[in-house]
């Protein structure tokens, strides 16, 4: 899948393994979840009220556009949550209703 973000500074941080809809992915230690996701895809979640996707907007925990669902049932705001090893993000798995 195409990506939105791209790295300008490679921190060469410790790799952080996580999953997206069950598929393995990797981020760097210090990546926010929004960064970890948008470095390898163009969407964070399905929009609840129509056939669209969202990918965040303000990056400062104000617009509330970047909430993502984790497999353990937690919802987290991707722009204010640091990615952790083993995080299991559900994007297409978060259907409406």
């Amino acid at each position: 899948m195409a990506a939105l973000f791209h790295r300008l500074v490679d921190r060469r941080g410790e790799p952080v393994p996580f999953t997206i809809d069950g598929e393995p992915a990797s981020a760097q230690r210090g990546d926010l979840l929004i960064t970890a996701l948008l470095l390898q895809r163009t969407t964070l979640r399905r929009f609840e009220f129509g056939p669209a996707h969202r990918a965040g907007f303000c990056l400062m925990a104000a617009c509330q556009d970047c909430w993502v669902l984790l497999a353990d049932g937690r919802r987290v705001r991707a722009c204010s949550t640091v990615v952790e090893p083993g995080m299991a993000v559900l994007v297409e798995g978060d259907g409406p209703g």
Partner: protein, 439 residues
Amino acid sequence: MRAAEALARAGLKPILFDEAERPGGQIYRQPPTAAGHTASTIYGFEARKAEAVHRVLHDCGDRVDYRPKTLVWNLFGRRLDLLTGDGHATQSFDRLILATGAMDRTLPFAGWTLPGVFTLGGAQIALKAQGVAIGRRVAFVGAGPLLPLVTHQYAKAGVEVVAALDATPFSAKVAQVRGLLAAPSTFAKGLWYTARNRVRGVGIRNGVRALRVEGGERVEALVWRDASGTEHRVECDAVGASFGLRAEAQLADLAGCRFAFAAELRQWMPERTPEGRSSIPEVYLAGDGARIGGADVAELQGARTALALLEDLGRGVDRGAVARLDRALARQARFRHALDAAYPFPRHLVDAIGDAEIVCRCEGITAGTLRQAARDREAGEVNRAKALTRVGMGRCQGRVCGEAAAELVAQASGRELERVGRLRGQPPVKPIPIVVAAQ
């Protein structure tokens, strides 16, 4: 932080609740601690100021009780409701200084909900706090000094900036040069960014009219109309667009602070004396969270507000320091007045919002629905419009849609913007897990 520092120096031990993990707010936002020391922070001219601000709390040591990652989600009387890592907590207070900052002022335009559209502030945060760019070919749209700054920062970082569009006229800036010279170093910085941008071939286009983002699943192009009406199309994979800033005043609202309408800004903000007092005796306001003034003003106001608080507690304060701060703030106010006039709110972009455009991002409500409610259902006041259409009921509680919604309601109902009012605040000011609310 400057307020906490001043209070600590006077022998008080203030508690500083910070929603973020590290100090610095958004202007001096730091990468996460986990990013380590190799993370690059791109501040340009402001590096020294940023470092100084970041060091304030460190230098205060245990004279300031710093509580990071703590969301204040409600304020009732003299009690705060908090969400911390350990769950719910409360905190009572005798005096409260709110320094809650700002977010981008957003307006809907065709395609603005596509993946790849971010605010200008968001584009800058991606760079500052994560060392990433929002795209490889980026277009920026703005109506404030953030536009030349972010354009410069991205271009300097080697990103291809395909367009930098200012929705306000060039003539407005020329007309304000004298006032802008009240803060000569800031003015010089602005000129520097403009010159560097031009040298790099990313000259800012002024007086931009309608814009629309094209794309299927994500941003693919930006179409815009210049001041003479000619349409342009530029291929891009990300857009950073926002139009000035707006105060995050939700807690001031819950505190019962009186708000006033600033006609020249077309915004509501909590009333604040130059010393930082609100209409509520125990509550003080400092920084962009009361009225947009920028980073330097926020530091000055933080210190000045703390001195007002100390005076109100019956403590002596250094009158020399008060006079210096007041003089610096007066100078900044002259500059700010000119800057606001140099970048007037782009009302023509409100006119350009088509009925099919989404106004409320959270709930997916269109401008047409809102206009119809204002016209046909006598919803000429913004809270009534919210009740009828759901605009403002979503997770952002009107942060993103509120100002555009008021403008649309004003237009459709034929009323003055001030009469349309502002969205009533309610707790929680941000989403919290329901289990916390029940505690």
